[in-house]
Amino acid sequence: MTSAAQNASVSSYLDAGDRRGFPAWILSTDHKRIGILYLASLAVLFFVAVAIGVLMRVEQLSVNPPPFAPATYNAFFTVHGVIMIFMFVLPGLPSVFGNFFLPILIGARDVAFPRLNLMSWYFYIAGALIAVAALFTGNGPPDTGWTFYAPYSLRSGTNVTLAVFAAFVLGFSSILTGINFITTIHRLRAPGMTWHRMPLFAWSLYGTAWIQVLVTPIIGITLLLVVAERVFGVGVFDPAKGGDPILYQHLFWIYSHPAVYIMILPAMGAITEIIPTFAHRTIFGYRAIAYSSIAIAALGSLVWGHHMFTSGMGELANTVFSLLTFIVAVPSAIKVFNWTSTLYKGSIELKPPMLFALTFIFLFSIGGLTGLMQGALNVNTHLHDTYFIVGHFHYVMFGGTGMGFLAALLYWFPKMFGKMYNEKMAAIAWVPIFIGFNMLYFTMLILGMMGMPRRYFTHLPQYHTGHVIASIGAFILASGLLLFFANLAIALIKGKKVAQNPWGGVTLEWLIPTPPPRDNFEEIPTIDDRPYVFNPEAAQ
């Protein structure tokens, strides 16, 4: 891989431009600045949702009397879910690291539609503000759960309409980002960068973008219909008007299951970038990883029914969806095997990003396997709507996407800001995160097996010990997260300046100055080899 000689005196994207201060950021169409905008907004919303999550665990510490009223607890789990899913995990990696690094990784100066890109961020902020408005206006925050199931979502007196509309607006942001990324990857790859020379993070973003484009409109129309039913009284899902609430569930999951892959694919992509760098070894099974991203995108769109095994949609449908669910595990497993094969005989350097990347593999595997268990119809009947489900999807969403996000942040932070965080502190923060995480969510798996139902504000005495352990785990986890982000915040202010390539990475982002210049490349590079080729000197 060759790169044009880079001029070190080129000013970085952080200080280039005509405008100064705040407007320089919110009016910038630079993909890197937009990535940072997303990072800042996501971080704020993430901590709001974490705080609500901790409050939910406080609720379960005491049964009599419960610390918060039952209705408050309902609002907690709804708002926690809505913020985490629609505003953090879904946009997560694509909007932050995709925006910042996709053009750089494929050797482009920006995304295909820079103005549209900025508009996506405005849609995101508008959606977030509407969601916040839903909390403080009308008859209180929504209490339906993030799934907005009909008919309750049609009847609930709380502020469901605004919350649903917020999710609709956020969907716009997601679709526009997807369109932008697909077009960027098709049109703006550097000369010589064929599909099979494209870094795997870009492949995963490509698969993700297609899911975003193809399924987000379905949730869009579904949520619009809920709004139409609530505001105008149109009959579509309401059983009192001949509607079928099961159809709502179908439409909801036609989007929301593939959405799970919107969340996890980019995280898998980021892990695929990190592992070769710290194993100093080329990726094992490049094509298998690339095509499994596409296979996940395709198969993941056909398994939504496994959320509805107990809804009464019919035995044939149950059986087909159960089979497809087992099949969709194959491409995910392919990735896990390829990552571990990459590590094999690699020269592994356990830097903080690698630590979190390995944690991703471990926790995601637990999440994936517990997911497979629920794919079996009889087991599902027992586990449906229990804490087992809550534990499972937190292993995938948080253990997977969340850890992937943290790993990617540690990996690319020095490149994005030109400053290095305290590596030792990042590794120390990992300890409470890992211990707290497993105390919290593994306990949930056990509680679920014992029969603890989800979304209850209180619990029977036999579950109390488990709940206390989980709550303590939540506090440990939250303090670990605080430590993690405090470390990065300190680095932003007084971190040591970092060289162009602190980790010895070989993809294009490491071949340009740190932080990247406004136009990324002085001269668009010509690519003449596959990615992840480590020469022996770099491995030293």
Binding site: L116, R189, G220, V234
Partner: protein
């Protein structure tokens, strides 16, 4: 491929890229309506007779008239694009204006049609609608959602075409730089195509 993609780096206008983006956006529009088509099929399978009866009460004449109007407007927007390519600005302006007028006519028709239904008490939570069997309630629910959402798209299309009209006037769209107009035309055709599906599903379902 790679050398052609490289060219697009330096040029500020990548027509193929913007066309690709537009087609992706059109996919999302089709899928947006796709959700409604899915609901329509499921409910029609559940309530075949009620859907038959519901369709009988709709004004087929207005439905067909609107189809003729929209198809003609698709023709005029296509002529507008050909005209700008050949450098005939006057014809472009004329045809674009005609398209916008057709769009407005469509909305007037829709207004007359909806007013008549509402006058008969057939509207969401309307007294007459609530007396009807479940399947017809759903039929009219879908009728209002589908034609309503389509109507919003007609309005959006009219706005987009008006902006294009202004661009042609101000010389931002020319015989060598007409990509925006082409994309707007694509959008208008999509609005038309969706209507072509709505007509048989709703008005001819009897």
């Amino acid at each position: 491929m790679s050398s052609s993609t490289h060219a697009s780096h330096e040029a500020h206008k990548d027509y193929e890229g913007s066309k690709l983006g537009m087609w992706l956006f059109l996919f999302t529009e089709i899928l947006l309506f796709g959700g409604l088509f899915l609901l329509y099929s499921a409910y029609r399978a559940k309530y075949p007779f009620d859907f038959h009866n519901g369709g009988q009460h709709l004004n087929t004449f207005i439905g067909v008239l609107n189809t003729v109007i929209l198809l003609t407007s698709s023709l005029t927007v296509a002529i507008a694009i050909s005209a700008i390519q050949k450098g005939n600005r006057r014809l472009t302006l004329l045809c674009l204006s005609a398209t916008i007028v057709f769009g407005l006519l469509f909305l007037v028709d829709k207004y007359i049609e909806w007013s008549a239904e509402i006058g008969h008490g057939i509207y969401p939570n309307g007294p007459e609608l609530l007396k009807l069997p479940d399947g017809e309630k759903i039929f009219y629910g879908l009728y209002y959602c589908m034609t309503g959402l389509h109507g919003l798209h007609v309005i959006a299309g009219i706005i987009v075409l008006s902006i294009m009209l202004a661009f042609v006037r101000s010389g931002k769209i020319t015989s060598t730089d007409f990509n925006k107009l082409e994309n707007a035309g694509l959008y208008w055709h999509l609005v038309d195509v969706i209507w072509i599906f709505l007509l048989p599903l709703l008005y001819l379902s009897a």
